[in-house]
Symmetry: C2
Subunit: 64 residues, 2 copies
DNA sequence: TAAAATAGAGCATTATAGTGCACTTTGATG
DNA sequence: CATCAAAGTGCACTATAATGCTCTATTTTA
């Protein structure tokens, strides 16, 4: 998701690293599916990518 | 947010800890605003709480 | 195809998240 | 007030996320 967004914006991992102040190595791991990023780092990335992390109540069947 | 949701479900931190397999201490820190949880832990919590983490494209003013 | 740019991976180190334990604080109840 | 339950905090230790460096692989381009 992050990766797709980054690519659609035509930004390299390196550029993203600089813009977000998240280490390049970290972004690489993260994008290659090996990460368990902290919320903080995740937010730094989504912030630069113009994405928003939201929490929504999962609508369950018995919810209505 | 997590805290509010937990309370609205009338679940104690302790119960949440057990249900989610996240350490009680961790939940305490997290809820008292001192956390920088990993995505993994955050998901374990939201999962139990019936919440969903979503990423949406932030609509910017100059987007239209 | 050679060179350059971009992405992925191994290794080692540092910073910090996760956790348990014990104690304090706070709020509710008898 | 004494008691109890739920929440918050300090301390210490362990696990792992974050990071840099270097090298390899893949993709792009001349």
């Amino acid at each position: 998701m992050i990766k797709a967004r980054r690519e659609s914006l035509q930004v390299t991992q390196e550029a993203l690293a600089e813009l977000s102040s998240v280490g390049l190595r970290t972004i690489k791991q993260f994008e290659s599916g090996k990460g368990n990023p902290t919320l903080h780092n995740l937010q730094k990335l989504t912030d630069v990518l113009g994405l928003e992390i939201t929490l929504k109540v999962k609508s369950r069947s018995d919810n209505r």
